[in-house]
Amino acid sequence: MSTATIKVDADALDDAFEARGWSDGLPVVAPTRARVDAMLRYCDRPADAELGVMPPRQGVVTPEILAVNAVMAGCRPEYFPVVLAAVEAMLEPAFNLFAVQATTHPCAPCLIVNGPIAAELGINGRYGAFGPGVRANATIGRAIRLILLNVGGAAPGILDRSTQGQPAKYAYCVAENEAESPWEPLHVERGFAPGSSTVTLTAAEGPHNLNDHVSTGAAGILATLAGAMTDMGCNNAYLYGQPTIAFGPEHAAILAADGWGKDAIREYVFEQVRLPRALWAQGGMAGMFEDLFPAADPVPIIKTPADLVIVVVGGFGRHSCWLPTFGDTTRVVTRAITRADGTPLARVADLAG
């Protein structure tokens, strides 16, 4: 893919972009040369460097085309290193972007940002983090969707075959609330240094609520999540994969106070979140794929405890959520936010010099 300059009256911009399918349906910010160049100040790679090809259309990914879409989404220039790292994560083979883009399942790449850059950019990990109101979350998430549409060619009904889609396909970006988590943050669990910044991508459905207002101990919260996650309608029931639980900080604090760490919760979910085989076999995707647990009754929804992703997201209140995924054909990928030479970036401000 290459970029081109077009002249269009400002009042006609959105109509012109919409007619060409260059939009998510919302008005876009005009990607003028000056705005794209401002975005590229936060990138130390050549603007035309080929970073890969994005399926399913096999569009060539360059910093410049990513910057064009980031401008269109409304990103501040300093958000660009997060957008770039997220795209690099999606292009890793383990993420299987081709399938994520083309499936009938309503998954969308969800970005979970960890480390000091999340705070530097003001990416919300507290109240309403999965919802509206914060420019960094809204526009970084939107930039990813515009890139998937315009570079990857994932136009609904054409190469994006999602039967119904979902609202998170507009924007899906949060920070982990590390400050109010009793546990090790996601990126450190996944092998990155505590002071580093990362973006983790998971191909997920929208958040499914886990409401427990009455439990004062871990047992009730765990029973609530087991009841909610024993879900025959999610892909994980048949394709396994790596679903995420995003605990609100109150639920996380109660669990930690009762001595529950992430690994113990993972073991609990593997053992307790199971569907009776007689029910499991009646519908869903029974018989379409290899049954990993032919002798198990009831049937677990994850292949191994380690496959459960756990983070802390949100403000106070007795809600958590879980994010079912597309299945085990896509794996969670974490990418450090770095300079071009791979050196971890301490602050995005350092890139602008």
Partner: protein, 85 residues
């Protein structure tokens, strides 16, 4: 591979009966043959703008499905014709 000519078969196939799968395959067979056997420059030119044109068609048509063969399986549709309980 940049520029790889892609001939999409209308997805999904999982719930389709044999006749609909055969119809979908037949609908793209000509394009597959052309992509494999045609002149490389012509193929590249045709496919470069293929999805932009498809998007324009979809939007101008009211965001409807643009596939020539994309339907509820006829066997299911026939049964659904009776309404519901």
């Amino acid at each position: 591979m940049p520029g790889l000519p892609l001939i999409p078969i209308p997805h999904p196939l999982a719930g389709n009966g044999p006749a609909l799968v055969a119809d979908k395959a037949a609908a793209i067979a000509g394009e597959v043959v052309a992509a494999l056997c045609g002149d490389a420059a012509t193929i590249a030119a045709t496919h470069a703008a293929r999805f932009t044109h498809l998007t324009e068609r979809r939007l101008s048509g009211g965001a409807v499905c643009i596939d020539a063969v994309c339907a509820i399986d006829p066997a299911v549709a026939q049964r659904a014709g009776g309404g519901g309980r």
